[in-house]
């Protein structure tokens, strides 16, 4: 065996081990969700998947407000995605293509907003939502999640790269700023729009803490918050909780499998911007 081959094998083994470490929590959630509550806490529960019992799923589907939470998650995540993209795109267009006083300052403020950790704003945002009477309202969940500077920055970079002549051709053809944005800049950036839509949607879907603060009524909860509701009188119901967690993750996993390339692209681009 040559040294190169040995190195390759060692590298492959390392990657495999890393992948197993990454996948294990998901595997463990799946194994747990397929066992009875009693078995989970007994000594006989090993690492191997030796039991397939769908009781936890049946229980969760029949007793929890899963459908409601799904609807809430879908509603809020789609609204957040739509608004974030629309406004992010328009803001980026203005910063990239229009000349107005304070443009650079505005852009610096948006870039600077990266420096502020989101949790630092929770108290202020909670007070604001409370003052606006939006606790336990969908808009209370949605509004604070609309601040996504990375969308503006990524769009601006892509808009900056579009040749000036194309813009001028549209102006000569009789188009205005809206024509430019929606018939030229947006169609030329469908790829990045799709990528940004996916990461915005996934991050809104997975967001736990903010909806957990704002939605205290079971009817207003999103799926990640709903998971915390699955207890019984004897304490935490692990199988049901894991079943619910997997059901909550299912749409995101599905989206990832379908749009794998775009998601990777989006993560790379936003990571590049966040530096």
């Amino acid at each position: 065996m040559t040294a190169k081959r040995a190195r390759n094998l060692a590298f492959a083994a390392l990657v495999l081990i890393a992948a197993m470490i990454w996948i294990f929590p998901l595997y463990w959630a799946l194994t747990t969700s397929l066992r009875t509550e009693g078995r989970i806490v007994s000594d006989s529960a090993g690492v191997l998947l030796d039991e397939i019992n769908l009781a936890a799923y049946r229980e969760v589907l029949s007793t929890s407000k899963l459908a409601r939470w799904y609807a809430n998650s879908i509603g809020t995540s789609l609204t957040i995605t739509g608004i974030v993209l629309l406004f992010g795109m328009m803001c980026a267009y203005a910063l990239s293509q229009l000349r107005f006083p304070g443009r650079r300052l505005l852009y610096l403020l948006i870039v600077g907003s990266f420096m502020v950790p989101v949790p630092a704003l929770y108290v202020a945002q909670f007070v604001l939502m409370s003052d606006l009477g939006l606790i336990n309202r969908a808009w209370g969940i949605i509004l604070p999640q609309l601040i996504v500077p990375v969308v503006v920055i990524v769009y601006k970079q892509f808009f900056d790269a579009i040749p000036k002549e194309m813009r001028e051709a549209v102006l000569l053809d009789g188009g205005g700023e809206f024509t430019l944005l929606f018939k030229l800049y947006l169609p030329l950036n469908w790829g990045i729009t799709a990528a940004l839509a996916i990461i915005t949607f996934i991050s809104a879907w997975n967001n736990f803490f903010w909806p957990f603060l704002v939605a205290t009524s079971e009817d207003m909860m999103t799926i990640p918050v709903g998971i915390t509701q699955v207890n019984d009188s004897f304490g935490v119901a692990y199988a049901r909780m894991m079943a619910l967690a997997l059901l909550a993750a299912a749409p995101v996993i599905l989206a990832y499998l379908v749009f794998q390339k775009r998601v990777t692209e989006a993560v790379m681009i936003s990571a590049g911007v966040k530096g």
Binding site: P163, E165, A169, V170, L171, G175, P187, L188, W190
Partner: protein, 361 residues
């Protein structure tokens, strides 16, 4: 105010303290093919963009037909522009690229189809209407850009170095096509180029620009035969005019006699009516085709490079003092490289310029 073509009066353009266009007056007749030509940075593209409305005009006025369009939006000026980079919309098909302006104007579907198909027919693009710009060759893309301009039926076509991105062969072909198109449409066209061959072959009227000022305007051959200054004389014509520094040695009935620097035995007859002072310095301009070989006394040129083009050849050399000289030979087959030749300009074919570069007549 004339109601035809394009008329510019006292047009200036400044970027901050820098004046890029300094007081341009021009008149382009309806249906004329005008060419702005000049070296890089002379302001020719800026001037075209000002006519298009893509750049603000600092002062002065621009009229298209009878309308003052100085402060109109680009779309309302009834001009169409063809860009050097084509500026096609990459996400749209050829058809949709050409139909874009009509769709924005919400023209009926039938009219859009009719106009696009007619333009495609003129430009031989009918078989490519469904393709995306990326699937086309450079020449085809340029045709689509022209087609996009045609469907708008503008009063004025503006071309900003449209052939610069094409290879030499295609450039010649497209040049011919543009000339035919102009003949077929009869619309006013303004064309910007730094290539004086394009200017000479396409233009009804050439505007030579330098540092934001029109140096001379006129028919191509008028500019060639009768340049007003040394810049125009040197810019129009390829290869360029030869310039020799000289001093006025005598006055005679046909003009003056001038002695080129470093040639004490040679007095050239310069046919001008003015009489610059004896011993004053002037520049002499001679076109390569007006220099002929002589066995007698003449400009002694050592030839170092010869460009043999078949029918004609260009011989590149230098005088003893190092001044470069180019001369043309027709049908010659004997190589002159490395030889010393005596040259004399054809009588009456010498231009004279003063120290400021202005023509002395």
């Amino acid at each position: 105010m004339t109601a035809t073509g394009v008329h510019l009066e006292g047009v200036t353009k400044s970027f901050g303290a820098v004046d890029v266009i300094g007081g341009v007056d021009m008149q382009i007749g309806k249906g004329e093919f005008a060419v702005f030509v000049g070296p890089s940075g002379c302001g020719k593209s800026t001037l075209l963009r000002m006519i298009a409305g893509l750049e603000d005009t600092t002062s002065g006025s621009i009229h298209i037909g009878a309308r003052d369009v100085t402060h109109e939006d680009p779309a309302k000026r009834e001009v169409a522009m063809v860009f050097q980079s084509y500026a096609l919309y990459p996400h749209l098909s050829v058809f949709e690229n050409m139909a874009f302006s009509l769709r924005l104007a919400r023209r009926p579907r039938k009219e859009v189809e009719e106009k696009v198909n007619r333009a495609a027919g003129i430009l031989q693009l009918t078989d490519h209407l469904h393709k995306k710009p990326a699937q086309l060759s450079g020449g085809q893309r340029q045709r689509v850009a022209i087609g996009r301009a045609i469907v708008r039926a503008p009063e004025v076509f503006l071309f900003d170095e449209p052939l610069s991105n094409l290879d030499a062969e295609l450039r010649v072909q497209m040049r011919l096509e543009l000339a035919r198109l102009h003949k077929a449409l009869g619309t006013t066209m303004i064309y910007v180029t730094h290539d004086q061959v394009e200017a000479m072959t396409l233009a009804d009227k050439i505007f030579v620009l330098k540092s934001g000022m029109v140096q001379q305007a006129g028919a191509p051959l008028d500019l060639y035969d009768d340049p007003v200054n040394r810049f125009v004389a040197g810019f129009i014509g390829s290869p360029g005019m030869n310039f020799l520094e000289a001093t006025v040695s005598a006055h005679d009935t046909d003009g003056i006699r001038a002695r080129p620097k470093g040639q004490p035995d040679l007095d050239l007859s310069v046919p001008i009516t003015s009489r610059p002072a004896i011993d004053s310095a002037i520049s002499l301009g001679m076109r390569p085709e007006h220099l002929t070989l002589t066995d007698g006394p003449g400009l002694q040129v050592t030839v170092d490079v010869a460009e043999e083009l078949g029918g004609i050849s260009y011989q590149y050399g230098a005088l003893q003092d190092g001044s470069p000289v180019i001369f043309q030979q027709v049908g010659a087959r004997h190589g002159l490289r490395g030889t010393v030749q005596n040259l004399l300009p054809e009588p009456g074919r010498i231009f004279a310029f003063d120290a400021g570069g202005q023509r002395v007549r």
